[in-house]
């Protein structure tokens, strides 16, 4: 379980995160939601150790993350940020093979190859394994990167807006894959996501942030309420809930926008 | 701040007139004795005019280039302009050795303009214009042009004297040998008239076109103005790096990027910086001079470092 205590982040006089206290439940999918500038990505980057907090601490299964050496941390936490413009001549398989770096440092064993095959199969990418990355569509590329983090075989997976620039089919595929990672493999997934509907339908736990602080957090049923979301986003929400899932309608709010 | 700048400029002008190898007391200045008058008109005044105009011209060049390329770190020294001018002078010297300064300037102008056009064409194909990559590429581009010049100079054995052109030095400025610098005046006037359009240029081609501006014509005009200024200054004075880089950035920090408002500040600051460097250069090893290229390199370099470090703090 990842716990965050009294986390702060300031840049000079600008406070980006203040007094964040959270416990991310294990083997569950947690979404970080909220308007722009809420501090969601900053929080995620600090969990990934890509940013240093100004104050406060982060604990992984009880021990402080600052004490864990880099290569050990890589075996427990994998991070996926926005896919950069990619112009490396890498095949999908070669990319996924990078995920084994923390374990084999470049020399792939038979076990590594098996893990790579499993990761590719998990996302149904086996047919594309020999294709070059820059020949794939954005959605397929994102899946390939996800396969790499899967091959890293970590307990925790951190993703920063994985659905950006994806068409709906690939977005659904990614979310379904993440859901399966939690259910079938017991991994903990934490992701920053903009689309509140995806968050509502696939998460177990939601952390809503606003203006650098936690607005509210809890089980999906507690957070996805019209009152809470209106407070968070400043929009009127119409939430429909049936056995298929949630539908948050904020597209044509009645009345005036504040 | 708006009042502060012109006052500073006037003060620096005054100091510049008084400083020099030949001692001139305030008394002599006011009574305008023959000696003082000669020094004043033959050397001090031309020098003052040249320094100011060069400062104004170079900072304006910097600002125009930065708006066309949309990158904060571009100026003639980091876009190959200076090296192209050097190549132009070299070619004209070897092909037409008897031609005067006028035709040399023309050659420098043509080469500088062509090099700028090539640079802009290349840069436009680059996707992320807002990075440090552009000036780095510009520097390497300039290095390549320099290599070309070296190749040429080596064959004609003028390699060492060629280095001399490239170092800015105001000590050569004497009445009768500097008038070419007045060509910067029309450049300043035109820039002021077109200031609004250059600002729009800085927003990118798409926005400029959607606002009804002919992007190609305006940017070509801008490049031509830059080429004229650079060739004139290289012929008259030599190359002076950093002014076009530092001044627009400093001014933009305080006044923003709207050229119609900030152009006077840019011009005055450029002139003031160069005057200050020139005065320092004349006083440091009195009565000998440190070439202006050196002082601006030091001062400009430090200022630029401060700028970068400050910028990346955020």
């Amino acid at each position: 379980m990842i716990t965050v205590q009294d986390l702060h982040k300031t840049y000079g006089s600008r406070t980006v995160l203040s007094a964040v206290n959270l416990r991310f439940p294990s083997s569950q999918l947690t979404s970080l939601v909220g308007p722009n500038g809420a501090g969601k990505t900053t929080l995620l980057m600090m969990l990934a150790r890509l940013l240093k907090p100004s104050r406060g601490d982060i604990r992984l299964d009880g021990s402080q993350v600052t004490g864990i050496p880099i290569d050990e941390y890589a075996k427990q936490v994998a991070t996926l940020r926005q896919t950069p413009e990619f112009n490396l001549r890498l095949t999908v398989e070669e990319l996924v093979a990078f995920g084994r770096f923390p374990y084999s440092r470049g020399r792939l064993t038979r076990h590594d190859h098996r893990v790579i095959d499993d990761a590719l199969a998990f996302l149904s990418l086996t047919a594309l394994r020999g294709a070059y990355l820059n020949e794939l569509s954005g959605g397929q590329r994102q899946m390939a990167f996800l396969a790499m983090t899967i091959a890293q075989q970590t307990d925790y997976l951190l993703l920063d807006e994985p659905l950006n620039n994806l068409d709906i089919k690939h977005a659904v595929q990614i979310m379904q894959a993440l859901r399966r990672l939690c259910d079938e493999q017991g991994r903990t997934v934490i992701l920053v996501v903009h689309d509140i509907n995806f968050a509502a339908n696939y998460s177990d736990y939601i952390v809503a942030m606003k203006d650098g602080a936690v607005h509210c957090d809890g089980q999906v049923s507690d957070v996805i309420t019209e009152r809470r979301l209106s407070e968070l986003y400043g929009l009127k929400f119409d939430i429909a809930h049936n056995e298929r899932g949630y539908l948050c309608n904020y597209f044509k709010p009645s009345g005036n926008l504040e | 701040m708006r009042v502060y700048l012109p006052c500073l400029f006037v003060l620096l002008c005054g100091i510049s007139l008084l400083v020099g190898a030949r001692q001139m007391s305030g008394y002599q200045l006011i009574t305008l004795s023959d000696d003082a008058w000669l020094t004043l008109t033959a050397s001090r005044l031309p020098r003052l005019i040249t320094v100011s105009l060069t400062g104004v011209g170079l900072s304006i060049c910097g600002v125009i280039l930065q708006h066309i390329v949309r990158n904060k770190f571009v100026e003639p020294a980091t876009s190959g302009g200076l090296d192209a001018a050097k190549l132009g002078i070299l070619v004209s010297l070897t092909l037409m050795p008897t031609a005067g300064a006028g035709s040399r300037m023309l050659a420098a102008l043509l080469f500088c303009f062509a090099a700028n056009v090539v640079f802009i064409t290349i840069v436009r194909r680059i996707k992320f214009t807002n990075t440090v990559l552009i000036p780095v590429i510009g520097l390497m581009y300039g290095g390549m042009l320099s290599a070309l010049a070296e190749f040429y100079a080596y064959r004609h054995n003028i390699l060492q004297s060629m280095q001399g052109w490239l170092l800015g030095d105001f000590s050569k400025i004497v009445q009768g040998h500097y008038e070419i610098i007045y060509l910067i005046l029309p450049v300043i006037v035109l820039t002021y008239l077109y200031a609004h359009r250059f600002t729009v240029l800085g927003m990118g081609e798409d926005i400029a076109t959607s606002l009804g501006m002919n992007y190609l014509v305006t940017s070509t005009l801008g490049l031509m103005l830059v080429a004229i200024t650079v060739s004139v200054t290289v012929i008259a004075v030599g190359a002076i790096p950093f002014v076009g880089l530092v001044i627009p950035n400093l001014v933009a920090l305080y006044y923003g990027d709207n050229l119609t408002r900030t152009l006077p500040a840019v011009a005055l600051s450029g002139a003031s910086l160069l005057l200050a460097c020139d005065i320092v250069g004349r006083l440091l090893l009195y009565p000998f001079e440190v070439p202006i290229g050196l002082t601006t390199a030091c001062v400009g370099g430090i200022l630029f470092m401060v700028l970068i470090v400050g910028r990346t703090q955020r």
Binding site: - | V132, L167, T312
Partner: protein, 315 residues
Amino acid sequence: MTVKTRHTVWVAVVALALAFVFVRSGFDFEYVIPKRLERLATMVIGGICVAWSAITFQSLTGNRILTPAIMGYEAVYLLFQALLMLMLGTRSLMLLGEHGNAALSILLMLGYSWTLHRWLFRDDRDNVYFLLLVGLVLTMVITTFTQFVQLKMNPGEFSILMGYSQATFGNASATQLLYATLIVATICLAGLKSLPMLDVLLLGREQAISLGVDYRRCVQRQLLLIAALVAVSTSLLGPTAFMGIFVANTAYALAGTYRHQVTLPVGCAIAIALFILAQLLVEHLFNYKTTVGILVNLVCGAYFLSLMVRTRGTA
């Protein structure tokens, strides 16, 4: 591309080497051949330095248009040589001897890079682009100083200085070569272990950290290695600014894979071949009307321009 093409490259190198050593030599094993062998050795070591430093630097910065020279190493070397010539005149040659000069130059360049890194890497800052910007400014400032110094010396000193500022192969003695070989061999062996890490660096800073690479320390160490390689090649040959770009990009194209295990050796082969070719051209085609340094810079500079146009600057 495959093992076959890689072998072809090495075959070409060997062929060129043989041509260089033996063509028009009259098989004079007393003087001509040993001299040429010395020069060949210089080319080999220089080629390895240039290729290794350029490819590694490009992997660190994530961009294929850059070269270590923009960090200012070569500018520092040129300034040092100019100052030496100005202050001591031609006596400097006798005073320091070639060993002293080379040793001092190397130490100076290493010192410069160490100070740069110390200053730039504090406060959690490991943005390579910031490093580039500072390198840019420093190169400009140092070059201005060098121009000033060059003006002050007399033409005789200037032409000797030019000997140091242009890449040539005739300067190094056998002992120098020996030292250089030892240094380069140590660096390359030390670097071999971190080749997989270099591969990961290609994915970018954040991905590398996520995969467990100590990014900051890795970059620092690689930059030091690069500085050492550049120092050795500059003091042995002179500045070779653009050559790294040409060599690196051709290596990527020929190697067909991203793996440093393959691109580094191919790059070395290309660099060596380029040097030999340039020297052959200077000797037989241009009749010494130009130097290897100028020729290489010219060709590679033109290549650099075309590369920028073709790849849109993000290669």
